[in-house]
Symmetry: C2
Subunit: 223 residues, 2 copies
DNA sequence: TCATTTATTATACAATCGATTAATTACAAA
DNA sequence: TTTGTAATTAATCGATTGTATAATAAATGA
């Protein structure tokens, strides 16, 4: 008899709510199980709003993917910028962050992988992926360069880029397999493992990253 | 008026035909676009055979995933075993194989990623993934150990396993990002890059893998 | 050559999909 | 309080989904 009571949200709030519901459903049921009805139910609204805010389902999913990549790269950038620690500490913190929660979560990896499958056939997905990848590489290069300089390693732009590509591959691969946690080893070994591996990849002395101060002082009194 | 003429295949042939058609459709249209009708049309049969050979669609997809992982690990194992080259050559060949076609293909990466998204919620998918991952790690450990021994590096079981995890992460990450080819760099730089990075990760002298003989003789007359 | 088996086709079915439209109602402005 | 706007609901549409069943024909052995 009575209609559902509802609240009128601002355009940004409602769109974000729908995108987050979309990600939740994709993570929970996969792309083929993320139906308009399930997504809108998750968001607490009715199906008509999809058309109203995104035109159609595909566009809503595209926007949700961009939203996800934005989150992933944002937390990557954030942990890199506007910190005043030593370069070694910054890089070490960045590496550890990618090997621990909340960055390394089964849900995020599942989402990321699920969407990757569409990059081939959808130009919008490809662009979103490329932008996120570029951003991640840039952050890595920025973090790597001063560390290389500090330890008298070659640090040309080309060298930094090459190191960033390798390091990104290492992080991506471990991030994925680690989050899926096949049970072949404990996830807790990954932070130290990626730190040690990065030291070797960059050719800097062992312990430079592992012993970097996790707190704020830029390596005072290292007797 | 007339029915479609058909050929009766053996159980294995028909099942394989349907699994390959499934992979083709998933790669081409994604999981949600790989419908029973499209798959069976791709295989040149009618929809009824899905029930006859797999019971239902989900079981057919599960089998197709296992078939894919089997292919991926088989070509990895194959390039490692029953070769008589030097350990350095074997490892280098394995690394290069994973950074070049046909192993590194956009289609395989897309398929792999698409299915990864289901590992979380489907125990069968999780098991298939875990088995493939374990096999890949085993192959890597087998390849790494003699190389470490040859160059007087620590080569305990634990050390080999640790190296295998790191190397596998590096390979996985570069395999994925490389195959997707975002255009930020050429795919052709990856074979040399992964070789060089692996030398550093293993702590063996530069050039040991890069200059390993790609042909069959096990390093005769080295200067 | 004929009978038997079963792989395969053809068709139908209920359920669910995304999209669309018109009727409501929450909210801000007047 | 009243009015106007548009965000939201509710209901419906045709298309497509996966599954089930019966009819058919290809292969096999006697």
């Amino acid at each position: 008899m009575s209609r559902k009571t509802f609240q009128r949200l601002s355009l940004d709030d409602r769109r974000r709510s729908l995108m987050e519901a979309t990600l939740t459903c994709v993570a929970r049921h996969g792309l083929h199980g993320a139906t308009v009805r399930r997504i809108t139910e998750e968001a607490g609204v009715t199906v008509g709003l999809v058309r109203h805010y995104f035109g159609n389902k595909d566009d809503m999913i595209r926007n949700a993917y961009a939203y996800l990549v934005g989150q992933l790269t944002a937390q990557a950038s954030e942990s890199a910028k506007h910190t005043v620690a030593a370069p070694e500490t910054q890089l070490a913190r960045f590496l550890r962050a990618n090997m621990t929660a909340p960055n390394m979560s089964e849900e995020k990896v599942s989402l990321w992988a699920t969407f990757i499958g569409r990059v081939r056939h959808d130009a919008d997905f490809a662009e979103i992926h490329r932008d996120g990848y570029r951003e991640f590489l840039n952050v890595l290069e920025t973090l790597i360069e001063p560390v290389l300089i500090n330890h008298q390693r070659p640090h040309s732009i080309a060298a930094c880029k090459r190191h960033a590509i390798a390091l990104n591959g290492l992080i991506d691969g471990l991030w994925m397999e680690g989050a899926l946690n096949s049970g072949l080893y404990g996830q807790d070994i990954l932070p130290d493992l990626v730190i040690e591996a990065s030291e070797r990849l960059l050719g800097i002395p062992s312990g430079v990253l592992a012993n970097a101060q996790p707190s704020q002082q830029p390596q005072s009194e290292v007797s």
